[in-house]
C-alpha cells in the first residue's frame, strides 16, 4: 500500500487534474437530477398487489382525482353556480384534463332517460324557487351528494380527471399551476380549496426542491462553521468541505447516469452524503495536524497521515456502507435507493478523503501551528471524562443499562404508520384544503374495491348486483368511509329513469306504449334488468370507469374516505375482505386496491424492513468488529456503545409519539453505521497506544485526547447536519432530522463515556496489527518459547513485546550494561562474545528460536542484572524483546501468558540441567 501513498503524494497534481475532470463529467450529468414525487417510490417493488392495482387502473382509469371544493353559505345561488360553471368550463379547456364533473355539467341521468337529455343544472341563472327544487331533487339522489354537493348545500365539488400523462409530464406542462391560477382567480368571497393526489404530487415536488435548495447550502454552512470551530484554520475548514461537495456531485452524477431520481423517501440523501462524508476528511485533517510538527518535510507528514488513518477510515467507511447497504433488503424502492446511493456517496467521500485531501495537503506548506494548540480545552475535557468513566466504570455501565431498560420500555409504545396526509404540517395549504374538503364534502382519499369474475356478463346478473349492493352498503357503514360509487348506483339511476317515463309523450315525440301503472325496481322485478342493461350497453362510455365493458366480468366500487392513517385503512380493508368472504361465491373475488392501500401495506413492510436491515447491520458490524479485534467478546463490547443510542432512539420515539414511518424507519440502521465509525477510530488507536504503555487507563486517556477530538468534531458535524433536516417541509423528514441528530448525540455520549468504561480492563489487538507481525514460517514449531501456541497466539505474544532489528555487526547487548529485557531471535544469527585478557572471543552462536537474557526479564523489577558478555549480530537480526511491561501486558491473555511462562521455565530447566551436566565449568559457561 506504500506505493499508493507515494502516488498520491508525489503525483498530486496529476491526481487533482484527474479528479477535476471527473468532477466536471459528473457535474455535467448531475445537472439533470430529477425529482420523483410519485408515491410509487414509497411502494414495494415487484409487489403483486402493485401489479394488480396497475391492472385495475389500466382498466378503469386512475383513482387520482383533482378536487376543487367551493365553500359558501349557500351553493344554490346564481353567483356561486356561475362561478362553478366558469371554473368547470375553463378547466375543461386544459388539454391535459380528460374530463371535469361538477354540479353545472353533470347529467341528470333519471330525467335524461325518462324525458330528455338534460343537465342537473340546466340554467345557472335559474330562480330561487327552481334552485330550491334542485336542492330537494339532489337530496333525493344520493349518488350526487358529497360527490358534487354537500347535503347542507354549503359546499360543492369540481372533480377533475386527468389524461394519463405520468407525473413528470404533468409537472412539466404546468397543468397544476393552471388550475391553481384559475382557483386563485375565482377565490372569494366563497372559499375555494384545491386538493387531490395529482396536486399533492406537484406540491411535494416543489417542496422537495425547496428543501434541497435549503438543505444543501444550510448543511454546507453548518459544516463550514463546525470545521472552523474545530480546526480554526482555512485548510481545516476548506479541505473537508471541498471533498464532500465533490463527493455529492459525483453521487448525483452517478444517480443520473443510472437513471435514478430523488424521491419523497430519499430527499435526505444530499445532506446525508455531506455530513457523513465530512467525517472521513475530518479525521485525515485532524491526524495531519497531529503529525505536522514544524520543520518536518510535507510529503513525509502526508504519507504518515495516510498510513495512520487509511485503515481505521477504511473499516469505518466499510461499516457505514454496510449499514446503508442493509437498507437494500427493504422492499420500498426509495429506501433501497437511499441505501444504495448513500453507500455510493460514502464510498466516494472515503476515497476522495484519502486521495483528494492528501493530494491538496501535499501541495501546501506545513501549518505554522499544530492543531493541538487550538483545542487544549477539549483534550483536557475528554481526558477528564475518560478518567471518570474508567474510574467509575461500574456506575457508568449500570447507568447505561438503566437507560437501555427505560428506553426499551418506552420503545414498546412505538406506533407504526404511514399517514400520507401528515407528510405536511397542519398549517400547509394543501393539508388545510384536504381537511376542508374532507369536512364539508367527501373524503379526498380514494381507493377501489374490485370485484372480479371469470365469466363474461357475470356483473350483469341480478344475483351479482345484489351482492355488490350489499357490499357497498356494508362499506358505507364503516367509520371513515364518506361515500361509495358503484356500477349498481348507475343501474339504479337508469332503472328509475325508465320507470319515470311519463304517460304522455313530450310534444313532437312519439310514444309507443303507455307507462305501466305500477312502478317497481329491478330488485323487486328482475325482468326489468334486461332493459337497464341495454341502456348500459348503449351508454357504455358512461360506465367504463366502473365496469369492464364489453366483457362485464369485472367491476369496482370507488370508495372515498377521510381516513389516511395506515392502521385505519388496514382495518377497513380487513373488514371488507372478511365481509366478502362470507357473502361472495368463489367465482367472484373481492379485492380492495389503490395507492392508499398499497401505502398501508408499506407500513407492514416498514416493520419487517426495520427488523431485517437492523439485524443485518448489527450482525455485519459485529462480525466486522469481532474479526477486527480478534475476539467475540471485544466485538460485543464494541457493539455496546453503538446499540446504546438505538435503544435511546426507539425509547424517544415511544416517548414522543413519533411514528415509525418510511422516514424514521432508516434512522436506526444509519445511526448504527455512523456510530460504529467512532468506535473503530477509538479502538484502533487504543490498540496501538496500549502497546506502548502497560497502563490500559493511561492508553485510554491518550486515545481519547487524540482520536476523541475528531470523533467529537465529526459528531458535531453530523448532529448539526441532521438538524438542518428539521427545516424540511415534510413532516417525516423533519422527524428523521430531529431523531437522527438526537441519536448521533446519544451515540457520542456512548463513545466517550460508555466505551471507556467498557474498555477500561479489556485488552485489544487488531487484526491489522496481527497481520503486520512477521515471525517467519511456523513460529510455534521453530521458536521454542512459542511451543504449543497457535501462530496467531505467537503473534499476540510478539505484539505484547517489541520486535527490534539490528544490522550486521551491531551489538544487541553490551558487556557491563544493565538490561531488563529478554530476547528471542526471530531471524538472523548472532554470537555471544566475552572479553578476556583484553581479547574478545566467541563463546557460541545464537540463531532463530534461541533465547537470551531470561534473567533480565525475571529480575527486571529489581532493575535487571549487569551483562557479562556482548551479543553481536552476525547478520541482520530481528529479535523479540520482552521486558517488565511485557510481563504485565501478556497477562491480559492468561492462557497465552501461562503457556509462555511455562515455555520459559522449560527453557530455564533445560539450561539448568545442561549446566549441571557440564559442571564444574568455568565462568565462561554462564549464560549471558
Amino acid at each position: 500500500m506504500q506505493w499508493i501513498s507515494d502516488l498520491i503524494v508525489y503525483r498530486s497534481k496529476t491526481i487533482l487534474i484527474l479528479i477535476l475532470l471527473l468532477t466536471g463529467f459528473f457535474a455535467y450529468h448531475a445537472r439533470d437530477i430529477r425529482l420523483d414525487s410519485s408515491v410509487d417510490s414509497l411502494l414495494p417493488k415487484d409487489d403483486p398487489e402493485r401489479g394488480y392495482y396497475d391492472e385495475v387502473r389500466h382498466l378503469f382509469g386512475s383513482d387520482e382525482i383533482g378536487v376543487i371544493g367551493v365553500i359558501a353559505d349557500n351553493i344554490y345561488t346564481p353567483a356561486v353556480l356561475q362561478k362553478i360553471k366558469r371554473l368547470t368550463e375553463e378547466i375543461t379547456k386544459i388539454p391535459e384534463v380528460k374530463s371535469v364533473i361538477s354540479l353545472t355539467n353533470a347529467q341528470d341521468v333519471i330525467t335524461s332517460v325518462a324525458k330528455e337529455s338534460t343537465l342537473l343544472v340546466p340554467d345557472v341563472n335559474a330562480t330561487h324557487a327552481v334552485l330550491e327544487e334542485l336542492k330537494h331533487k339532489l337530496a333525493d339522489q344520493a349518488i350526487y351528494l358529497k360527490n358534487l354537493v354537500s347535503a347542507d348545500g354549503r359546499a360543492a365539488a369540481i372533480n377533475i380527471f386527468f389524461a394519463n400523462l405520468g407525473d413528470d409530464e404533468f409537472f412539466r406542462r404546468g397543468v397544476d399551476d393552471t388550475i391553481q391560477a384559475l382557483v386563485n382567480q375565482e377565490n372569494g368571497p366563497e372559499k375555494l380549496y384545491y386538493t387531490g393526489l395529482p396536486h399533492f404530487k406537484v406540491h411535494s415536488t416543489r417542496a422537495m426542491w425547496g428543501d434541497l435548495t435549503l438543505f444543501i447550502p444550510l448543511t454546507l454552512l453548518l459544516i463550514v462553521v463546525a470545521l472552523f470551530l474545530s480546526f480554526r484554520s482555512l485548510r481545516g475548514m476548506l479541505l473537508p468541505t471541498v471533498t464532500v461537495v465533490v463527493s455529492l456531485i459525483w453521487t448525483m452524477g452517478i444517480m443520473v447516469l443510472a437513471g435514478s431520481r430523488l424521491s419523497l423517501g430519499n430527499t435526505a440523501l444530499p445532506p446525508l452524503v455531506l455530513v457523513l462524508g465530512t467525517a472521513y476528511s475530518l479525521h485525515i485533517v485532524a491526524e495531519y495536524y497531529e503529525l505536522a510538527h514544524p520543520g518536518r518535510p510535507v510529503n513525509e507528514v502526508v504519507r504518515e497521515t495516510l498510513q495512520a488513518t487509511s485503515m481505521p477510515l477504511f473499516i469505518a467507511a466499510l461499516s457505514t456502507v454496510m449499514g446503508f447497504l442493509s437498507l437494500i433488503v427493504n422492499s420500498i424502492v426509495s429506501i433501497r435507493e437511499l441505501g444504495l446511493y448513500a453507500s455510493v456517496g460514502i464510498s466516494i467521500a472515503f476515497v476522495l478523503s484519502l486521495v483528494l485531501v492528501p493530494a491538496l495537503l501535499a501541495l501546501l506548506p506545513l501549518p505554522a501551528r499544530r492543531e493541538e494548540a487550538f483545542s487544549p480545552g477539549i483534550s483536557a475535557a475528554l481526558r477528564k471524562l475518560a478518567t471518570l468513566s474508567s474510574r467509575y466504570r461500574r456506575t457508568v455501565i449500570t447507568a447505561g443499562l438503566l437507560i437501555v431498560l427505560l428506553s426499551a420500555w418506552q420503545g414498546s409504545y412505538i406506533q407504526v404508520g404511514s399517514d400520507f396526509q401528515s407528510f405536511f404540517r397542519e398549517t400547509d395549504p394543501i393539508r388545510q384544503a384536504t381537511e376542508a374538503i374532507n369536512r364539508y364534502l367527501v373524503g379526498s382519499m380514494t381507493f377501489y374495491v374490485a370485484i372480479d369474475g371469470e365469466e363474461r356478463d357475470i356483473v350483469k346478473k341480478w344475483d351479482t348486483l345484489w351482492r355488490i349492493k350489499n357490499l357497498q352498503l356494508y362499506i358505507d357503514s364503516l367509520p371513515g368511509v364518506e361515500k361509495t360509487i358503484s356500477f349498481v348506483d348507475y343501474c339504479e339511476l337508469l332503472d328509475r329513469g325508465i320507470q319515470e317515463i311519463p304517460l304522455e309523450p313530450p310534444v313532437g315525440e312519439l310514444l309507443e306504449t303507455p307507462q305501466p301503472e305500477v312502478k317497481t325496481t329491478f330488485w323487486e322485478n328482475p325482468d326489468q334488468l334486461k332493459g337497464v342493461m341495454r341502456l348500459v350497453f348503449l351508454n357504455a362510455a358512461s360506465v367504463s370507469s366502473v365496469v369492464n365493458h364489453p366483457n362485464y366480468s369485472r367491476t369496482i366500487i370507488l370508495v372515498r374516505t377521510s381516513l389516511s392513517r395506515s392502521s385505519d385503512i388496514a382495518a377497513r380493508v380487513d373488514q371488507i375482505e372478511a365481509f366478502a368472504r362470507g357473502h361472495f361465491p368463489p367465482e367472484l373475488t373481492v379485492h380492495p386496491t389503490g395507492n392508499l392501500i398499497l401505502l398501508t401495506r408499506t407500513a407492514g413492510n416498514i416493520v419487517s424492513g426495520q427488523i431485517e436491515s437492523l439485524a443485518l447491520t448489527a450482525v455485519v458490524i459485529f462480525i466486522l468488529m469481532a474479526a477486527m479485534f480478534l475476539s467475540a467478546r471485544v466485538g460485543l463490547i464494541a457493539m455496546a456503545p453503538n446499540v446504546f443510542p438505538l435503544f435511546v432512539f426507539f425509547g424517544l420515539m415511544g416517548m414522543t409519539g413519533a411514528e415509525l414511518n418510511f422516514g424514521t424507519n432508516i434512522i436506526a440502521s444509519i445511526a448504527l453505521g455512523v456510530a460504529v465509525d467512532d468506535t473503530i477510530h477509538i479502538m484502533m488507536r487504543l490498540s496501538s497506544t496500549v502497546r506502548t504503555t502497560a497502563d490500559q487507563e493511561q492508553a485510554l486517556l491518550e486515545t481519547l485526547s487524540t482520536v476523541g477530538k475528531p470523533a467529537l468534531y465529526a459528531s458535531v458535524v453530523l448532529f448539526l447536519g441532521f438538524l438542518t433536516l428539521c427545516f424540511s417541509t415534510f413532516v417525516p423528514i423533519r422527524e428523521f432530522g430531529f431523531l437522527s441528530a438526537t441519536t448521533i448525540l446519544v451515540g457520542l455520549v456512548g463513545e466517550i463515556a460508555l466505551l471507556p468504561a467498557l474498555l477500561a480492563t479489556t485488552p485489544i489487538i487488531t487484526l491489522w496489527d496481527l497481520l503486520h507481525v512477521k515471525l517467519g514460517k511456523d513460529p510455534h514449531k521453530t521458536i521454542g518459547i512459542f511451543t504449543n501456541l497457535r501462530p496467531s497466539q505467537a503473534k499476540i505474544v510478539a505484539l505484547m513485546g517489541e520486535l527490534k532489528s539490528f544490522p550486521r555487526g551491531h551489538a544487541i547487548l553490551r558487556h557491563g550494561e544493565v538490561s531488563n529485557e529478554m530476547f528471542v531471535i526471530i531471524s538472523g544469527r548472532a554470537e555471544v562474545r566475552v572479553n578476556s585478557a583484553g581479547q574478545s572471543r566467541s563463546l557460541w552462536e545464537l540463531q532463530r528460536g534461541d533465547v537470551f537474557g531470561v534473567t533480565s526479564l525475571i529480575r527486571s523489577a529489581e532493575g535487571g542484572p549487569e551483562m557479562f558478555a556482548d551479543v553481536i549480530a552476525l547478520e541482520d537480526v530481528e529479535v523479540l524483546a520482552m521486558d517488565e511491561r511485557f510481563r504485565s501486558r501478556i497477562w491480559r491473555y492468561p492462557r497465552i501468558a501461562a503457556r509462555i511462562f511455562f515455555n520459559i521455565s522449560t527453557a530455564l530447566l533445560d539450561r539448568l540441567q545442561d549446566a549441571v551436566q557440564r559442571a564444574p565449568r568455568s565462568e565462561k559457561d554462564r549464560y549471558p
Partner: protein, 434 residues
C-alpha cells in the same frame, strides 16, 4: 509504472469501444421491399417512412405481418365518376371557413358528383382541405347502400364481443343516377338498426346530414325500453360509439364536418397501404341494383386462428401495396373535441383514406386507425364505389382495438337498390324498432 500500463489499456479500450460504437451507429442501407415479400419482425426496417410509426412498431414487435403485393390491375373509378370529376374542374372553391362553395352560386353545392377538385396543387394553401373534400365525395358514388356492419371488440389475444348492425344509406347531394327531390336539403340520410346480440336488437338510429355546412346533423334514436323515438342532442363527433375504440367521426376514417377543422398538408409520399385481393372487385347486377359479395378467400382474423403469434385484431392473410399518398393534418377548432390532431394518409389518385393517427387533447397518440378499401366496379365500368372491407381502430394507450368487417358469409352488400326517402323518417324508425 503499473499506472502507465493501466492508462494505455484504458486508451486502447476507449479506441476499440469507439470503433464498435461508430460501427453500430452507422446507418444500414436496407434493401427495398419487393412484391411477394412478407413484411414482418425480420425486415420491418424496410418499411421505415412508408407506414405510420405506430403501425411500423407493431411490425417491429412481431405483432403484425403482411405480404407486399403489386395490384394486378390499374385502379380507378368508374367512367361516370371520372367524367364528372373532369367537368368539375374550376367550378368549386373553398371559402375562408373551409366550406365547399359552388363558384356559380357562391354557396354550398346542392348536388356534386365526382371530385370537386380533380387537380390539386400541393403548393396550394388549401390543398389539404381540397383533398378531404375529394375524399368525402369519393364515398358517395352509388345512389344508396344497404349493408351490414359487424363490429368486434378485441383484446390483444382474444375476441371480446361482437355486435351486428344493418345500415342503409341514401345519398342526395351526390349520386350516380343524378339529383332527386331533396326537400330536407340533406347530403345524405342514414339508418342503422341493431341486429345482434340482444343488447342492440331493436335499437335504431336515424341521421340526416345536411347540405348546409353550418347546420348540425339531426340524430334520432329508438330504444325499445324508452318506448319512443327521441331526438338526440348534438353529439361531439369525437364521442365513442357504444364504448368502442371508434368515434362518431371515425367511420371511413373521417366522417366529420370538414369546416370544423383546420387543415394542413403535411406532405406527399409513397406509402405501404392495405388492400385485400382481388381488387378491383366486381359489382354483380341483381334484381334491384348491384351486389358485392365477399370473396371466397376472405380475411382470416387473428382471433380466428388458434395459437397465432400476432395480435388478435390483425388479419393473418393481409396485403400491403405501395401507393402515393397525401398526408394531411386536421386540427379541431373546438377545444372540447377529443382528438386534438388527426393525421390522415389519403391516396393521391383514388382519394381513399388508409391510415389515421388520432392524438388526444394532451397531444399523445391515442388511436391508430387503418382502413382497407376495395375499389368496386360494375362489369360495364360505369358505376364504381369505394367499399371499406376492413377497418381497424387501435387504442394505443389501452392496447385494445375495434374491428369492423362489413362482410359476413352469405350476406352480400347491396348498392343502388332504389331505397326510398320514406324509409328515413322517425315514424319508420319506430315501426322497424318494434
Amino acid at each position: 509504472m503499473p499506472q502507465d500500463r493501466s492508462g494505455r489499456r484504458l486508451t486502447v479500450l476507449v479506441v476499440i469501444s469507439g470503433f464498435f460504437f461508430t460501427l453500430l451507429s452507422s446507418p444500414i442501407a436496407w434493401t427495398e421491399l419487393k412484391s411477394g415479400e412478407v413484411l414482418s419482425q425480420e425486415n420491418w426496417q424496410e418499411a421505415k417512412g412508408l407506414l405510420p410509426e405506430a403501425v411500423l412498431h407493431r411490425f417491429q414487435d412481431g405483432n403484425y405481418q403482411a405480404k407486399v403485393i403489386t395490384l394486378p390491375n390499374t385502379l380507378g373509378w368508374g367512367s361516370k365518376f371520372k367524367a364528372a370529376s373532369e367537368t368539375n374542374a374550376g367550378k368549386f372553391s373553398i371559402d375562408a371557413a373551409d366550406s365547399l362553395t359552388d363558384k356559380a352560386t357562391s354557396t354550398y353545392p346542392t348536388f356534386l358528383y365526382g371530385y370537386p377538385f380533380p387537380q390539386i396543387d400541393p403548393n396550394d394553401p388549401q390543398a389539404a382541405a381540397k383533398v378531404i373534400y375529394n375524399f368525402s365525395y369519393t364515398l358517395m358514388q352509388a345512389d344508396d347502400a344497404d349493408r351490414s356492419s359487424n363490429l368486434y371488440w378485441v383484446a390483444p389475444s382474444t375476441l371480446e364481443r361482437h355486435v351486428e348492425f344493418q345500415g342503409q344509406l341514401l345519398f342526395y347531394g351526390s349520386r350516380f343516377s343524378g339529383p332527386i327531390a331533396n326537400l330536407d336539403a340533406t347530403l345524405r340520410k342514414g339508418l342503422i338498426a341493431g341486429i345482434a346480440p340482444q343488447e342492440v336488437f331493436g335499437v335504431m338510429t336515424l341521421e340526416w346530414v345536411y347540405l348546409d355546412p353550418q347546420r348540425w346533423n339531426s340524430l334520432w334514436s329508438y330504444v325499445p325500453e324508452l318506448r319512443r323515438v327521441r331526438l338526440v342532442a348534438a353529439a361531439n363527433g369525437s364521442d365513442s360509439l357504444f364504448g368502442m375504440d371508434l368515434a362518431h367521426d371515425d367511420p371511413y376514417l373521417f366522417s366529420g364536418k370538414v369546416q370544423y377543422f383546420t387543415w394542413k398538408l403535411v406532405g406527399i409520399q409513397e406509402a405501404l397501404v392495405p388492400y385485400t385481393l382481388p381488387n378491383p372487385k366486381i359489382l354483380r347486377r341483381a334484381d334491384k341494383g348491384y351486389l358485392l359479395e365477399n370473396h371466397q378467400d376472405p380475411l382470416v382474423m387473428g382471433w380466428e386462428k388458434e395459437g397465432g403469434k400476432g395480435q388478435a385484431w390483425w388479419p393473418t392473410n393481409y396485403s400491403l401495396v405501395k401507393r402515393p399518398v397525401w398526408v394531411i393534418e386536421a386540427t379541431a377548432k373546438d377545444a372540447q373535441y377529443a382528438y386534438s390532431r388527426q393525421v390522415l394518409w389519403i391516396d393521391q389518385e383514388l382519394y381513399v383514406a388508409y391510415y389515421k393517427e388520432a392524438y388526444d387533447r394532451s397531444g399523445r397518440l391515442w388511436r391508430m386507425l387503418l382502413n382497407s378499401v376495395s375499389v368496386a366496379r360494375t362489369p360495364e365500368g360505369d358505376l364504381s364505389l369505394a367499399q371499406p372491407d376492413f377497418t381497424l381502430a387501435v387504442d394505443e394507450q389501452q392496447n385494445h382495438a375495434t374491428v369492423e368487417l362489413p362482410f359476413k358469409q352469405g350476406q352480400p352488400l347491396a348498392f343502388g337498390v332504389g331505397l326510398s326517402g320514406d324509409l328515413f323518417t322517425t315514424a319508420e324508425l319506430m315501426k322497424r324498432g318494434k
